[in-house]
Amino acid sequence: MSEPILKVRDLYRTYDIAGGLFRKATTLTAVKGVSFDVERGSTLAVVGESGCGKSTLARMLTMIDAQSSGTIEIDGLPIDISKTGISKDMRQKVQIVFQNPYGSLNPRQKIGDVLEEPLLLNTDMGAAERRDMALEMLQKVGLQPEHYGRYPHMFSGGQRQRIAIARAIMMKPKLLVLDEPVSALDLSVQAQILNLLADLQDEMGLTYVFISHDLSVVRYIADKVMVMYFGEVVEYGTRDEVFDNPQHDYTKTLFAATPRADVESIRKRLAAKAA
């Protein structure tokens, strides 16, 4: 739990916005000089509001998008897909789970095929071996073997998110990027998925980059917290440092805006209302 599995240094991502007849071409910098380390087996939570660059960061870490400048190193392997392309080796290191389990599964693909596809593309395993692994994985994420031949529409939101997680860990990645994995789910289902993620982390020694805007979830799951605001990191520290003693104004605003569900603050609100 000491050496960093993910090292990011001075990472930038810019997008060119095409000009039109009356508009000059401009560039938008979505991520501005982000640096951080994530230790093996730990969880880094990335917090921020929409447009702060947290999903762009996730796209770069998972090799969906190339960085404009800066370095990413995952498990000792430098990642710069615009120069070197992607090898199967790199794919095995990192996987992603998306926010919306309704959108991230192909409706025409059976669950078994969903789970086997990463193996089919990246390994030389035979069909029987792939099938065994998929069945094993279904059990691991709390689903049944009979779910193997079913289609995504036959599952609830929580079950689909379990499938998406299963697909992501089929390759036994070192690093799992979770882009708002529970924000589309009900409270009770959210609790189940968070428990599942904690179990998998213990069992497989996974490292998580957990992107979220829900501070109560972050407080529960994170070891370290990074707060982003307009593409920059404004706060980075251990969970307790950030939550107990936030330094940046934006972090303070964020905490103040989070609804509190404790009796004390309800009492305070009702008293203020009566006055």
Binding site: E49, D186, S188, A191, S216, I221, L254, V263, I266
Partner: protein, 279 residues
């Protein structure tokens, strides 16, 4: 007399697999000046109840109730035409997806003016004045400049403000907000909730907040109804609900909140359901 009084509301949907009971005999009452929160998970029927009240359910739904009165008027016997006079004027509703609930083809100013055109006798100039006043009331910067803006040119939070402006345009007596902040960031959520509560206190209207977020309940509600699978599990004022939840389902919901986590694992609602089940 309560503002809205519904007794024994039942809603059934005809499906290919036979009738599905979405609501199984629930009572709702809201007084003027009161904030009622209806909480539940998806499938608990919390939205269906309010859509039934508004008359917005599809034909496949069968709605029965012993009583369904708004200001003493029976909503069940209203004709479609009479209902339209009440809906949008005395009762209005805000939906979850602000960008999807505005018409992308018309400007914000036009859509706001349309509500006024249907429900009031104001002339064009007066309507424009009122629209500007509304946009200012909901905190849109540069309202004059925004009149000609299309929904896609505004952010989610601004669209939700426009929706709220539209909903309060005719000074409704009852405002129903169906997950008004679920699609928004926490900082924007805070602004929208503060705005709704302020408008509610200034105007003394009744407000029904439909939500699955216990934090939103804690921040806004006076009284809370907890629903599960079409049934009412618990009804209490907000303080006693959080301080001393009576029903095991409410306790399950509250303990599934990550901030209430005590050990390594979060208790889930199904743990409770397996232990005893909710009846």
């Amino acid at each position: 007399m309560p503002l809205l009084e519904i007794r024994n509301l039942k809603v059934e949907f005809d499906t290919a697999k036979g009738p599905f009971k979405a609501l199984d005999g629930i009572d709702y009452t809201v007084d003027a000046g009161e904030v009622l929160a209806i909480v539940g998970e998806s499938g608990s029927g919390k939205s269906v109840a309010m859509l039934a009240t508004m008359g917005l359910l599809p034909d496949s739904a069968t709605i029965t109730a012993d009583k369904m009165e708004f200001e003493g008027r029976d909503l069940r016997t209203l004709s479609a035409k009479e209902r339209r006079k009440v809906i949008g004027k005395d009762i209005s509703m805000i939906f979850q997806e602000p960008i999807a609930s505005l018409n992308p083809c018309f400007t914000v100013g036009f859509q706001l003016g349309e509500t006024l055109k249907v429900h009031t006798d104001l002339n064009g100039r007066q309507r424009k004045e009122r629209v500007l006043e509304l946009l200012r009331a909901v905190g849109i910067p540069d309202p004059e400049g925004r009149l000609g803006a299309f929904p896609h040119q505004m952010s989610g939070g601004q669209c939700q403000r426009v929706m709220i402006a539209m909903a309060i345009a005719c000074q409704p007596k009852l405002l129903i907000a169906d997950e008004p902040t679920t699609a928004l960031d926490v900082t924007i959520q805070k602004q929208i909730l503060d705005l709704l509560v302020k408008l509610q206190q200034d105007s003394g209207m009744g407000l029904i907040m439909i939500t699955h977020d216990m934090g939103v309940v804690a921040e806004t509600a006076d009284r809370v109804i907890v629903q599960y699978k079409g049934r009412k599990m618990e009804e209490a004022d907000v303080l006693s609900l959080f301080e001393n939840p009576q029903h095991s389902y409410t306790r399950a919901l509250l303990s599934a909140l990550p901030e209430n986590a005590t050990g390594d694992r979060l208790p889930t609602v199904s743990d409770y359901a397996e232990a005893g089940g909710f009846q």
